[in-house]
């Protein structure tokens, strides 16, 4: 056997990823962006009743929260149907009958979803930042008007406060974390779909893991502190700690929106954990899929 052929070909992964991406975009998934824009604009209309300062705050909370929901939902729903659809349409046979490794096929499929998620998060960020910027400009103008006659230093302070509440690096980093969480969920969904028998099973299981994942941190800390009175309870907590990802770690975003100062290294570590999970679930998916009978 000749060893010329590389084990994994990026070109093939690329071709499958782009094809998957095209397939997903034809499903008109981007309509949810419209919903997102409406939500933001609608919520800022509602906010008009509250004071200015709160408005930017609530706008950020709503935007980041909605981005997190949309990205997570999109990741789960788009990925869950990929493999079953390909089997049903028999396109999986034509693809795997080419000299394509099964790992390349899975990586390509995941790549397509990640591309879709990246574009969606990017578009949502643009909508969000535009709305935020416009509201911020209005606030700056209002404040300037209200503060005429006050000492210039105080006016400057107030203006600086408003600017600080606008688009910042921390906000961008928070969006990166939202993306990492969605990527993790997509990879997890792909893994589950390699042994699931139906679409619904995949979605329900992923949503289940999603909820448990938010409690994993609490279970883990309990377990590590040797808490839990009975052997059964300890086993249960241990299983949760070992099997599930700690999704609560990615909710650092909530605190960022609130204005908590989070060091860049912590962002990097959280993002790193997300990337590691994404890669590991892809490997698990491959382990199940590589000799699967189709």
């Amino acid at each position: 056997m000749s060893g010329r052929r590389p084990v994994v070909s990026l070109r093939r992964i690329n071709a499958i990823a782009l094809n998957t991406f095209t397939e997903l975009t034809r499903l008109k998934v981007f309509y949810f962006l419209l919903l997102f824009a409406l939500l933001l604009i609608g919520s800022s209309a509602l906010m008009a009743r509250i004071t200015f300062q709160q408005e930017l705050q609530v706008l950020k909370d709503v935007a980041l929260g909605a981005m997190s929901i949309f990205a997570s939902l999109l990741a789960i729903l788009a990925t869950a149907r990929l493999l079953p659809q390909d089997v049903e349409d028999r396109t999986i046979y034509t693809i795997l009958a080419k000299p394509v490794e099964r790992f390349e096929y899975l990586a390509g499929k995941l790549g397509g979803v990640l591309l879709l998620l990246a574009l969606s998060v990017l578009l949502m960020s643009v909508v969000f930042f535009v709305v935020l910027f416009l509201r911020q400009q209005t606030l700056l103008a209002e404040t300037a008007r209200q503060m005429t006659g006050l000492p210039s230093a105080e006016a400057a302070d107030a203006q600086a406060n408003i600017r600080h509440a606008g688009v910042t690096t921390t906000l961008v980093l928070a969006i990166v974390i939202i993306y990492c969480k969605a990527a993790l969920l997509a990879s997890l969904t792909l893994f589950i779909s390699t042994f699931a028998t139906t679409n619904i099973f995949t979605i329900v299981t992923t949503v289940f893991v999603y909820f448990i994942g938010h409690l994993q941190g609490t279970a883990r800390e309990y377990w590590l502190q040797n808490a839990g009175s009975t052997v059964g309870r300890r086993l249960f907590l241990g299983a949760i700690a070992l099997f599930f990802p700690d999704l609560q770690l990615f909710n650092v975003v909530d605190d960022v929106a609130a204005g908590a100062v989070v060091p860049v290294t912590l962002f990097a570590k959280t993002a790193g954990l997300g990337v590691a999970y994404t890669a590991i679930y892809l490997l698990f998916a491959w382990a199940v899929f590589y000799r699967k009978e189709l």
Binding site: A15, T22, R90, Y93, L96, K98, P99, L294
Partner: protein, 281 residues
């Protein structure tokens, strides 16, 4: 020595039945060889194991026992598929791609470079007669057109062998004829062809060798002409023969120790009638 295109060695495939201790035997000790350059037809009723055999050859399913070699490579390796094209039964290709986009997608999966790919796509569209439909979405294609573009997809990387699962299922006779001609054209170019079908007439017409599967076992395997020869029978087709002449021939046969089994007007095949009618100007 050149390796055969396909060599199945005592293949057995069983599927476990979930939650039960039984297994279903899909294939039992099947040995089969396809030589390079020939058209091999795999026949059998539904559920006889045709599709499983093809999937094993393509490495989509691994055999429970036995050896599969494709041009000397283990069928499980992606390498074995570098020289093989496949058209599954009634395939569905991404509706949103145009004919040309679809072909270049599959070309890329074969690791083809952009330049050679563009040339090859044009060439294949020409070959399967879809040049005019080049930029049409596959969603608008008829069954026959889909099958033709599917065939083009199977040979995008100029494989030495193509595997066709029911290539004419659901296609009208005119389309069937086009596909048949394409298959013969591929054979002329030296491509080995392995096809499964239950349209016996078609198989008889184009295959060099056939194998018949029944209940997971290969019950016949050999050259079509040899398998079809009825021992001790000779066929005689006469034109403008009067009943008296037929009578005399029967008598002569009886004198020679033979007997005429059947004497009736010769029927044309419905396919011939259909084609004649639909291609009239």
């Amino acid at each position: 020595m050149t390796d055969p295109a396909v060599a199945l060695e005592k293949i057995t495939k069983t599927f476990p039945v979930p939650f039960q201790r039984r297994v279903i035997v899909a294939l039992r000790d099947v040995s089969l060889r396809v030589s390079t350059g020939e058209i091999y037809g795999l026949l059998g009723p539904n559920g006889s194991g045709k599709s499983t055999t093809l999937k094993i050859i393509l490495g989509l399913v691994s055999p429970t026992r036995g050896q599969v070699q494709i041009f000397g490579h283990d069928a499980a390796s992606a390498q074995s598929r570098a020289n093989v094209g496949f058209l599954p039964e009634s395939p569905y290709f991404p509706k949103y791609l145009t004919a040309a986009e679809m072909l270049s997608f599959y070309g890329k999966l074969c690791g083809m470079r952009r330049r050679e790919l563009a040339k090859r796509v044009d060439e294949l569209l020409e070959l399967v007669g879809l040049t005019a439909a080049r930029d049409r979405r596959l969603g608008t294609f008829s069954k026959g057109m889909l099958q033709r573009i599917g065939l083009a997809q199977a040979v995008i990387n100029e494989p030495e062998m193509v595997v066709l699962d029911e290539p004419t299922a659901g296609v009208d006779p005119a389309g069937t004829r086009v596909i048949r001609d394409l298959i013969l054209e591929l054979k002329r170019r030296g491509v080995t062809i392995l096809l499964s079908s239950h349209l016996l007439g078609q198989v008889q017409e184009i295959c060099d060798r056939i194998g018949i599967l029944a209940n997971g076992a290969l019950v016949r395997d050999g050259r079509v002409d040899e398998l079809l020869i009825a021992p001790d029978q000779t066929e005689l087709v006469l034109e403008h023969a009067s009943p008296q002449l037929v009578d005399r021939i029967s008598k002569a046969a009886a004198e020679g120790g033979a007997s005429v089994i059947r004497a009736a007007p010769r029927h044309r095949s419905l396919e011939q009638v259909f084609l004649e009618a639909t291609t009239e100007k």
